[in-house]
């Protein structure tokens, strides 16, 4: 990072002590499509809107929810291409961890490594911060976990969180609906209802994506027909 003539960082402090580039990156995230995550007692669900720019786009080719390891998945809000880079790096880091320690990477470790990468891009020469916030859902020996990672590289563990366009409404909705004893199926229904709140147009299995991980510790992206089933139950 930072070769050729740009050995100085493009992210510099403003007189008020803020890193303006990171603020702008958060704005980019805030104008991205809504995504949210909910940690249930026996699993985690992450979901996102999948609004395509035109009806001509083949929606099967677009997958926003990605798998990082068999027991960790991720969804983003913001710039898709930036998230691709992070997903690729995270997968490699998880694999390197496994090669070194012969155990699957704990969720916190993977989140920390991803956050470190994102921070590096705020302090290196010739690069800009990532324009995505990630929601990482995983299930390891510590149980189900949900983390949000921001463009600055800071990360927080959440019981339920939302990001993107409709973040304030979604978070208020989640605050009202969230209970600690929630089971995974209830969490999926709540996630769907939260997405429905700010959804423009008709919600269906083709324009939202849901990823779940349960006590079987296998992250799975639900197929459109499975999403439709949950949608009908939620009504």
């Amino acid at each position: 990072m930072g070769d050729s003539q740009y050995s100085f960082s493009l992210t510099t402090f403003s007189p008020s002590g803020k890193l303006v580039q990171i603020e702008h990156a958060l704005t980019a995230v805030g104008s991205g499509q809504t995504s949210l995550g909910i940690k249930a007692a026996n699993g985690v669900v992450i979901a996102t809107e999948k609004k395509l720019p035109s009806i001509l786009v083949d929606e099967i080719s677009v997958q926003k929810t990605q798998i990082l390891t068999p027991n960790i998945g991720v969804v983003y809000s913001g710039m898709g291409p930036d998230s691709r880079v992070l997903v690729r790096k995270s997968r490699k880091q998880a694999e390197q961890y496994y090669r070194l320690y012969k155990e699957p990477i704990p969720v916190t470790q993977l989140v920390r490594e991803t956050a470190t990468v994102m921070q590096e891009f705020t302090q290196s020469g010739g690069v800009r911060p990532f324009g995505v916030s990630l929601l990482v859902a995983g299930y390891d020996d510590k149980g189900p976990q949900l983390y949000q990672v921001d463009p600055s590289g800071s990360y927080f563990s959440w019981k339920a969180s939302a990001m993107g366009k409709n973040v304030s409404n979604a978070k208020t909705f989640l605050e009202k609906r969230y209970t600690e004893e929630m089971e995974l199926d209830d969490a999926v229904h709540t996630a769907i209802l939260t997405l429905k709140e700010g959804f423009e147009g008709q919600i269906s299995g083709k324009n939202i994506e849901i990823g779940v991980i349960g006590s079987d510790r296998i992250f799975k992206v639900l197929s459109p027909s499975e999403v439709e089933d949950y949608l009908q139950e939620a009504e």
């Binding site: 990082l68 997968r91 490699k92 694999e95 390197q96 496994y98 090669r99």
Partner: protein
């Protein structure tokens, strides 16, 4: 820029400096240490539904048996396994590394790994190390294009065969294959033939021994039959047990616990990180 003149090892990877030194010493008349024969029999064959791999379980350090029951059939992918002969560290490291690369590739493509992918990753790695990574492999698996069996030599050349053997016991095993192999074997016939070939290596080659491991790979399923046959059990166990001569005195028998029994208090304060 001066930093481009730094030596390669700063970034990790093999350093060939000592190889140049060794060549220089040989030119000056130093006899290099003789090559240790790779003690192994590994085989593979293609049967009607897939691929069967077999291996013995003896690891040798020169004339000494280092491991009587080691695992020579390595996991590469859910549908691909690899037997390794040669330096055990080299075969383990190379198969581990390519297995990692295949896993990442599966995440990126969302598809099952193909045997030719594993083959190409292995052979390009071995070729780039010019034979210094002493790993001779029998790679087999079943993917969307069908069952495949390949042999890979330490210098990076490969063969695609319906039946293959490698290692010091390869001639003994190949004798069995050449006389009894035919196309379209059933699973049981194939496993029996593989076990026979490995046994031939075990009994006729000093570098191979102990037990037979078999791995059957078919479309969508694999069976790793660890210690499928144990033709060399330890039969000699002295029934008399050990008796000490009368002059031996047992002075004192005392068991000292090294640590007091620790009580776990539920709900205590968590340790601060």
């Amino acid at each position: 820029m001066s930093r481009f003149e730094e030596s390669a090892p700063a970034r990790g990877g093999f350093s060939f400096d000592l190889c140049k030194r060794n060549e220089m010493l040989v030119q000056k008349g130093l006899k290099p240490s003789s090559y240790l024969k790779t003690g192994t029999t590994i085989v593979g064959l293609v049967f009607q539904d897939g691929v069967i791999l077999g291996a013995d379980t003896r690891a040798t350090e020169g004339p000494i048996v280092a491991d009587k029951n080691c695992e020579k059939i390595h996991y590469m992918a859910p549908n691909i396994y690899c037997c390794g002969a040669g330096t055990a560290a080299d075969t383990e490291a190379v198969t581990d590394m390519v297995s990692s690369q295949l896993k990442l590739h599966r995440f990126h493509t969302g598809r099952e790994s193909r045997v030719v992918t594993a083959l190409t990753l292995l052979k390009s790695h071995l070729f780039s190390y010019q034979g210094h990574v002493s790993a001779a492999l029998v790679l087999g698996g079943v993917d969307v294009t069908g069952p495949h069996l390949h042999t890979i030599y330490p210098h990076g050349s490969t063969d695609t065969l319906p039946f293959a053997t490698m290692g010091s016991g390869s001639l003994a095993a190949m004798a069995i294959f050449e006389s009894k192999y035919r196309e379209g074997l059933t699973r049981d016939e194939g496993v029996k033939l593989v076990a026979e070939a490995i046994c031939s290596g075990i009994f006729n080659d000093l570098g191979s021994g102990s037990n037979v491991d078999v791995c059957v790979i078919t479309k969508g399923k694999r069976e790793y039959l660890r210690n499928y046959m144990l033709p060399n059990p330890r039969t000699y166990v002295s029934e008399k047990g050990y008796s000490f001569s009368k002059k031996t005195e047992v002075l004192l028998t005392k068991i000292t616990p090294l640590r007091e029994l620790v009580e776990v208090i539920e709900g205590g304060d968590a340790m601060e990180e």
